[in-house]
Amino acid sequence: MAKKSVLVIGGGIAGIQSSLDLANMGFQVYLVEKTPSIGGRMSQLDKTFPTNDCSMCILAPKMIEASRHPNIRLLTYSEVEEVAGGPGKVRVKIRKKARFVDEEKCTGCGVCVTKCPWKTDSEFDVGLSKRKAIYTPFAQAVPNIPVIDTEHCVYFLKGTCRACEKFCEAGAINYDQEDEIIEAEVDAIILASGFDLYDPSGLEEYGYGRIKNVITAMQYERMISASGPTEGHLERPSDGKTPKRLAFIQCVGSRDTRHKLYCSSVCCMHATKEAILANEHYPDLKAFIFYTDMRAVGKRFQEYIARAEQEYGVSYIRSRPSEITENPDNGNPIVWYEETTARTRTTMEVDMVVLCQALIPSGSTKDISDMLHLSLNNYQFVGIPDRLFHPVDTEVPGIFACGFCQAPQDIPDSVIQASAAAGRAAEFMSKED
């Protein structure tokens, strides 16, 4: 009898965990990821709370394990296009987008990327650096095969260049490559489509996009990361100076009647981590965290906050700032806020502000949910009809959802749900026998 198989949608930490569990149980897994590499949001992070483990260092072995597992077919730069039949026996069509690089021939040497003369903003570095028109999103990308971004490749736009082809010794560049449609029949589906970042420019009072030295937490993660565009040096956008005073604003778009009512669940802790890291890099730096409630509910989280205060001098200020303005003389952001304990309105001038923006279900969650006939809740998270007693079961038998696409949660909770979804899928497929 053929192996039962599972489609896992999303190659972040949740999708990777579900895939590895099922593959290790002996099921065939199709792991579909829309970007050119698996790794997801976790690959963008510098360290992880509360242990300050380097994020990529703990993630990379799992990524490689997923790529070399005989039971996992990795389909990156691919999207589910059609789903039919079910439950139990589902026919899926997956569009494997053309990379314009022959995966069999490419050795991953990276010469094409070096030689490509065309640049655009790096998505991975949230616009803080440039990437080439032919690129791998980051150094540890899995698979280590570049893609040509036809929107920025001058050959595709104007018909001349072909530099990558010229320098590729393996002859792997193929401008005529076409999308491939892969068809598979699967017995269960796990949705792990993750999160996107809420655009804080809608909160005009905080000046994101207008005040140069106001950045987002994800931009900060890339900046403080040793593998990031500034090699771990904090350089504020206006003049490249190292900030001496740094403010983090919590609940930017979260717990906000004008934006998202829910709590994004992870920001209190990542801000604390980011403040600790700032002080570790620059012992003279002073960090302030403006918060609403300090939600530190996980293992060792309270202790982490105590350490931030005591060892790293992080100041927690309970206040939701009303406005950020810019000092025209030096580009410093000025935070206007109410000092609730002193009952005074006051201002604080800092060198840089980090906005801890709300996290929202990834944009593709809606499309894929429509395809799978799953309903979404008010905030576009995947609906889980019985969240208490069947926390990873969607309304369709045989389809499970885990990680941030179904509710805001941190890495351990995502990993737990991912394993839970794998366990439920295994149970579901056993019933079929």
């Binding site: 483990d53 009512l261 809740n377 007693f389 990873v392």
Partner: protein, 566 residues
Amino acid sequence: MAIPRIGVFICHCGTNIGGIVDVPQVVEYAKNLPYVVYAEANMYTCSEEGISSIKNNIKEHNLNRVVVASCTPRTHQPLFRNACADAGLNPYLFEFVNIREHCSWIHMQNRREATEKAKELVKMGVAKARWLDAQEEFKSEVYQAAMVIGGGVAGMSAALNLANQGFEVHLVEKEPELGGRLLKLNRIFTINKDPSELVESIVKAVEGHSKIRLHMPAVVKAASGYIGNFDISVDEGGKEVSFKVGVIIVATGAQVLKPELYRYGELANVLTQLDLEQRLKDGELGEVQNVVMINCVGARIPERPYCSRLCCMTAIKNAALMKEINPAAKVYVLHRDLMTYGVEFEEYYREAKEAGVRFIRYTLSNPPKVAGTKKVEAVKVYDELMDMELELPCDLLVLATPLISNDDNEELSRMLKVPIGDGGFFLEAHVKLRPVEFAMDGIYVAGSCRWPADIRESIAQGYAAASEAAIPLRQGLVKVEAITATVDPKICKGCGTCVLVCPFDAIELKESKIRGLEGKIVSEVNTALCKGCGLCAAACPNGAIQQRGFTDIQLLSMVNALSGKR
């Protein structure tokens, strides 16, 4: 032994190592070390590019030893070992050198010395690699059954999941009924329903399952063995029952703290949230006009620093219920931070506010005060927003206290050889990426015995632990670590020191059956039980025990390399 041909791969780890250590210089240095036939630098040795380079160079240069100088074996050793195995090299002919945690990260201010130290570390690794031996991993069959300890929702979910996959499950519960802490609740958040019906359906499924063998009331008395092969003995109502399982899931839950604060136990109208649930369940509460609830009682204090994760929701649930029972009631929740994380909890909090529950924030330095002689009559609390002390009339004071670890965790920890961490809760293998596994292979953890968890989280963890446990069960065979201790029976004097120090009961004194040594009492290592901790090798007064992968000659060659001796 073939002449060693050592390949050295030195990782920049982006700028983590490369920004401090002069990696090209270390590569040049490595090339001139004895038996090194190939050395190169990688931007990230753990990337696909680095891994394929290891594999290709093993073949191209006919390498029979590989040294990677990069980060830590804790995260990356399996990866590099597998790369060697993929290229046909025994994975134990791989040696790890840590030039990040042991060098670049701690010597950021001294680049020149850091580079020198990296060279010496590589020299030591190469010296050891010369003496590495191939090892065979022991393969062990997995007995097709599981034991789940704890019959709360986490344990029952785990048991049902495995049983529905076709595996036999022994479910051990110490109380005379299934359901755990949930049975004591009046309502559950955020659906505000009586849990008994919901629990009942799970209990029925468990009790009626042909694959689940229920041991109740019963406690685990002894457990020995290793992944795939555990021998269990339980005391089932005074009767000893023994069975064999391949995997174990620990889901023993937690208990609610009974506080010694706010005159609990002294004044009749001071209850814990759990007491309140009981009164509501029994219909014994009566009408209450003025309710004050205090959160974080005995939690987030220096002696017990953690947040218990669910008490805020419990307080919100019961506060809203008080308003529901008597809409005219005045209900206050005094809290330190409201931990209503996520979507539903935040909504639940908002709804309670809309229903008229009043929330007041207090600080640890200025906690609420109870007034009254025979009973609590009022609670005084300093409201920092209004900068004034409020006196709240109070007929009923309800304290939200944290979950604390069970008293028998320590005993279970000793029996199963699994660790306990902060607050007496069980400690998982990795807080981020292995949340439901113990470091001890074949044993898993779920629910509030790991950390306070609500129903949803406990059930998810139950399923997750079952998922991890299903892996060895389905594989049928497991590989057991080859880095174990070995005894030279000729040197062994049979003193038994090793038997005493071994924390895994892996060594026994036995009569030798080896020709020429017949009848001699010597120690014998059960490699399946041995975890390779090395205690016996260090303790043996006669030098009769060697630890594979850390033999005297391997370690001394490192020391000699460092001190310049040959």
